[in-house]
């Protein structure tokens, strides 16, 4: 029997894959959650949260058909070139999302902070 299977990858899946790859780029110290994510994190800490979810703080993703828009907000330290780091994150996240989900991702990176010590 040969059934057609159609897979739809959800926004949260893309966000978690993107966060996983972004955190592994050398020079990324942390991903910075936006306000909604930070408050959800607080709620989770108070209510007792299932820690088995892969964290996606600092990443938002929207899937449109065969492509995805991903935004990543990162923190780095002085000594890493912000331009090169942003490009490396875009490259690695897009490659990681593509490899895992098959989606073409347009990755927007924002360097939110540079730690100075």
């Amino acid at each position: 029997m040969n059934a057609d299977v159609r897979m739809h990858v959800g926004d949260a899946v893309v966000a978690r894959v993107a966060a996983h790859h972004a955190r592994r780029v050398p020079g990324v110290v942390a991903l910075r959650a936006d306000l909604a994510q930070a408050l959800l994190g607080v709620a989770g800490a108070v209510l007792g949260q299932d820690r088995s979810w892969l964290p996606a703080d600092g990443v938002t993703a929207t899937v449109h058909g065969a492509s995805a828009e991903v935004t990543v907000t990162i923190v780095t330290r002085l000594g890493h070139n912000c331009r090169d780091l942003a490009q490396a994150v875009q490259r690695d996240v897009a490659a990681g999302v593509r490899a895992y989900t098959g989606l073409d991702a347009l990755v927007t990176v924002t360097v939110a902070d540079v730690l100075l010590n």
Binding site: A30, A86, D113
Partner: protein
């Protein structure tokens, strides 16, 4: 003070070009006879090595910042960027941006690390018409006795080099204002 090629470049008080001294310091060339004895060239040499140390030594260190709940929320509040608060970074892979206050903090930090100087305010502006190039306005306090003519040349060179090496944006224009003097501090030079 514009950084356009072809413009006259302010020199160190001894008449040498700070950028030349930097090039030699970065290439690891030993200082020549003049540079060994000239305080202005020695300061410029130290600037170049200072940036090198900051950029490469700190990059090699490993550090995880403490991340308390309060930190996370406060960071999130300030991380809601408005358009004028981000610089656009050159990238072939899509939109890449950087917080302008974070970029200004980087430039202030490297200028603070220069001997005899403390950075005060730093404004960075990027008007989209000029690609990614930025204009920097920085105010500094100098230690009493430091040669003021050389200060401009040194700060200018430091800002241009840090813009390229630490931020990754070309610096088109640097305006430097020496707004204050301080005395040598027996307890060492802290930041402001």
């Amino acid at each position: 003070m514009a950084v356009n090629p072809g413009d006259p470049v302010p020199t160190l008080a001894c008449g040498r070009d700070a950028a030349r001294v930097w090039d030699r310091a970065e290439a690891g060339v030993a200082p020549d006879v003049h540079e060994r004895d000239c305080p202005h060239c020695r300061a410029a040499f130290a600037d170049a090595q200072g940036l090198e140390a900051v950029v490469h030594r700190m990059a090699a260190q490993r550090l995880e910042p403490p991340d308390t709940v309060l930190d996370r929320v406060m960071h999130a509040v300030v991380a809601e960027f408005r358009p004028y608060e981000v610089l656009s970074l050159p990238s072939p892979h899509g939109p890449a941006r950087m917080s302008t206050p974070a970029a200004a903090a980087v430039l202030r930090r490297v200028v603070d690390g220069m001997g005899g100087l403390r950075a005060r305010s730093c404004r960075i502006e990027q008007d989209g018409a000029q690609g990614h190039a930025v204009d920097v306005r920085i105010t500094v306090a100098a230690r009493f006795g430091v040669d003021l003519a050389s200060v401009t040349a040194r700060v200018r060179q430091m800002v241009i080099a840090a813009g390229e090496q630490a931020l990754g944006v070309p610096v088109r224009r640097v305006d430097i204002e020496v707004v204050d003097l301080f005395e040598a501090d027996p307890f060492g030079e802290g930041g402001p």
